[in-house]
């Protein structure tokens, strides 16, 4: 082929369009930029955009379409875990290459996927550490949308908190359906739970659309960040752009990137983004940075491998470093996850985050959690001689439990 094709597999309609459209635009911007730099291997890049419409089986179908019909060399895509799970068998069958840019629950590592978002140890654990050490939180509300990412994260956190000596009584877990919009009772419960005389915080894995009504209810019931701070893992600048943040000032989020991070690269990226979208008010967020890193690493790996062949690029990817937007350098590990810094930010009245805490160095993403019984012995390592995604360090074998 005379171009290198880049598949973009993000929902542009349906419930997930609200989050994913931005990532499609980000990839398009990256492709543009790369082409301005002269493309890759002397060829131009060509983006192939499809709309899987927030429909999970459609994700699989579109992946197949991208790989067999369009013959793309790489795919940037997916947001929800279920979409990724749907795509996974197809991408493995056809030996494609995908970059997944969203924080997720971990417990996975595929040869054909690079995970540039955070895994729980790059987001949830540091956030809890911060709450516990800096804000002296003793009582915990783990509130999440009822699906796998919150469930897993909360399981990890429960185990982690209990290991830190937190009493079971001081942990309240609450799950709500997708798009839950009536938060009155739950917020009232949180208030009551927090009224028992111990410093309380909410760790929120509430997803997407449910957040706006949740925060609105928090604001209206007068739960302020000083009383009961809420730290969220799915609320970034983009989500905040849909809320009046003045009553929410001081609530927290944990990410590997904030738009407010002071760095030259970030400044440039933001400018470029605003120019690309033609909207001065457009914000950037963590999954965009993840896409940015993923894309550039892929470009670097292709140049290193001097081909877009998946197996070659996959091997070339491991160990690649690329400056992230927060001033440091991100590194792709053997388990296809990144090493990245972790930031905690407080919501400001302009919808931005103020970084109030950051890890000292980089945190390497874990594919398998150390806090879950089923996976604490597992690691992923895609280099020889192990070369698998679920190597059991006890049984010294691939394939989960090992036989």
């Amino acid at each position: 082929a005379d171009t290198i094709k880049v598949g973009v597999l993000h929902s542009l309609s349906g419930t997930m369009a609200i989050s994913e459209t931005t990532l499609k635009d980000t990839v398009l911007m990256m492709v543009d930029e790369q082409n301005r730099k002269g493309g890759l291997l002397g060829k131009k890049l060509e983006a192939v955009v499809v709309d899987p419409a927030s429909d999970w089986p459609l994700f699989a179908e579109k992946t197949r379409e991208l790989l067999t019909k369009e013959k793309v060399d790489v795919i940037f895509g997916c947001w929800t875990s279920v979409s990724r799970k749907s795509v996974l068998p197809v991408i493995e069958e056809l030996n494609g290459l995908m970059f997944y840019p969203v924080q997720y629950e971990g417990e996975e590592s595929s040869k054909n996927v690079f995970y540039t978002g955070a895994s729980p140890n790059q987001q949830a654990i540091p956030a809890v550490d911060y709450l516990m050490n800096d804000l002296e939180v003793e009582r915990w509300v783990l509130a999440g949308t009822d699906y796998v990412y919150p469930r897993t994260t909360n399981k990890i956190l429960e185990a982690y908190l209990e290991a830190k000596g937190v009493d079971k009584k001081d942990i309240m877990v609450n799950y709500t359906p997708f798009g839950h919009s009536d938060w009155q009772s739950i917020v009232a419960d949180i208030k009551k739970f927090g009224g028992a005389g111990k410093k309380t915080a909410v760790v929120s894995t509430i997803n997407g659309d449910a957040n706006v009504p949740f925060y609105k209810e928090l604001a209206n019931q007068g739960v302020s960040a000083e009383d009961i701070p809420v730290v969220a893992f799915s609320v970034g600048e983009e989500e905040l752009s849909g809320i009046d943040t003045r009553p929410l000032v001081g609530h927290l989020a944990a990410w590997n990137y904030f738009q407010g991070v002071d760095s030259e690269a970030n400044e440039r990226f933001i400018q470029e983004w605003k120019k690309f979208t033609g909207d001065e008010k457009r914000v950037t967020n963590d999954p965009m940075e993840a896409t940015y890193i993923g894309f550039n690493m892929w470009a670097k790996a292709v140049e290193k491998a001097e081909t877009t062949d998946v197996d070659a690029v996959e091997q070339a990817m491991i160990g690649i470093e690329f400056p992230n937007l927060s001033g440091g350098v991100a590194k792709m590990n053997k388990n296809h996850h990144l090493s990245k810094p972790v930031f905690i930010g407080e919501i400001q009245d302009d919808g931005q985050f103020e970084v109030v805490w950051e890890t000292d160095g980089l945190v390497a993403g874990d594919a398998w959690s150390d806090f879950l019984p089923g996976s604490k012995d597992l690691i992923a390592d895609w280099t020889a001689p192990i070369k698998c995604g679920n190597y059991n360090t006890k049984a010294k074998a691939c394939g989960g439990q090992g036989q």
Partner: protein, 555 residues
Amino acid sequence: MKHLLLTGCLLLALVTTLPAASAGSVVSEQAAPSATPASEEPGGNRQVLLARLTRASLRESAEVLDQLERSGGRAMRGLFAAMLAGDLYYHRETGRLMAVQKNPAGERIGSDIFTGEGLGVQSRGSIKKVRVNNRLRSHLRDAIARIDLMHGTEAQKEGAVLAILDDLSPQNMRLLQVTADAGQSDRVSELIELARAMVELRDSSVTDARLSAIAVMSGRLEAPVRNQLQRLLDDERESDRKIRIAAQQSLEEIEGRIAFYDFMEQLFFGLSLGSVLLLAAIGLAITFGVMGVINMAHGEMIMLGAYTTYVVQQLMPGAIEYSLVVAVPAAFLVSGSVGVLIERGVIRHLQGRPLETLLATFGISLILQQAVRTIFSPLNMPVVTPGWMSGVFAINPVFSVTFNRLYILLFALAVFALLLVTLKKTSLGLNVRAVSQNRDMAKAMGVRTEMVDAMTFGLGSGIAGVAGVALSQLTNVGPNLGQSYIIDSFMVVVFGGVGNLLGTLVGGFSLGVTNKFLEPATGAVLANIIVLVCLILFIQKRPKGLFPQRGRAAE
């Protein structure tokens, strides 16, 4: 809760403040000269402190603030309040501190932090915000509370004492003593009395005194009271049987009262959810219930109303307080006109084929969703809650009602009443029903059926738009807004009985209340499932809904 953090810092502050001056008197002394301008205070020390404030790291700031409070007392309230609100800036070159606020035109207007003197428009690059984080904010709040305990309004004093209930340290008690000596209103005195009783119960060893303390505490709904009684009962060292029994009784009484208010709270939550369901369904009760159009685009009419609210707020950034008043008629017009267009353009061609309206309106709903994505972006749009709709109406420490929910409840009832009157008292209502029952005959009686159809569909859509204004206060204003309400809306209309407005009202509220009473026991998801199953079973009992249409013709 808030009290915990607040008192934690209060304690910290007191440790540093009080020993410095012999407690009590100093506090009130400091208050006296505060009318004099800041610059006259002893020592350029304060200027130094203020300068430090602009440069300090977040950690150092706390220390600077303490010193400022000690030196400036009441005079510092403005500074603290501005900083708490995030309005405190300093000039990059002169380092001068100022409160900065945006005017409606979006310009930054500075004013002196102490005198309030106007400093004119500040360019964006010339000023920088004084950084503040959660920790500082609670610090500031406590400082303000301390100032308020002496000099604040009644409500502020009350709040300050309430905060102290969480931490009854000797220092705090001394502070309360000073406050009490200054003579206070009944409510504040009562709270101070309560604080004393709590200390008595905790520290005293005289059974009678402790019993009377318990008597004072009995029936109080403040959380610290409950927590203390609970701790006392949990504490094995507490061996005085009389005290235990009294405490037990007292706690039970408190819990009894709380149970009652919990019930009230749930009822309110239920009614509030009901009002949302009602609002969402009410337009559909017309387009579907009365006209018989299976209007899958109903949700998008709501969505248009919500977007209208957003646009209105963008157009009048200086008058957010009034934006909703403008948005209601605007949303009615926007959604209503789109409704009329849909009716004239599409529905009209489907007369006598009501089932096909499902297909067409489904198509329209897809188009409208995508249109909104194209025009406004797929992101949610921020809609601001005006001040008068924010906050809670606290009836007592355990039962409060949020204003926005309360207003929306009232609004839903008002819209309903208005609609009922429109349909009952104008010829439109009669004509719609006639047309829906027998179009040809209505024509033969001279009814302008096209007009009636357009007006009715417009009315139903307009009402949906109005509902969108209310919903914009509670939930996402985004392209998916409509989808999240369409199922519920149909459910409510059908449950109430198609074609019966009153049914929609009762249906909405009963679904809301049932849901909210189930939720504490089952969780949100299961509550929802149970409600649905009940609904299915209910319809077996009453196949035509709550208020079926009766008579021969309905059979």
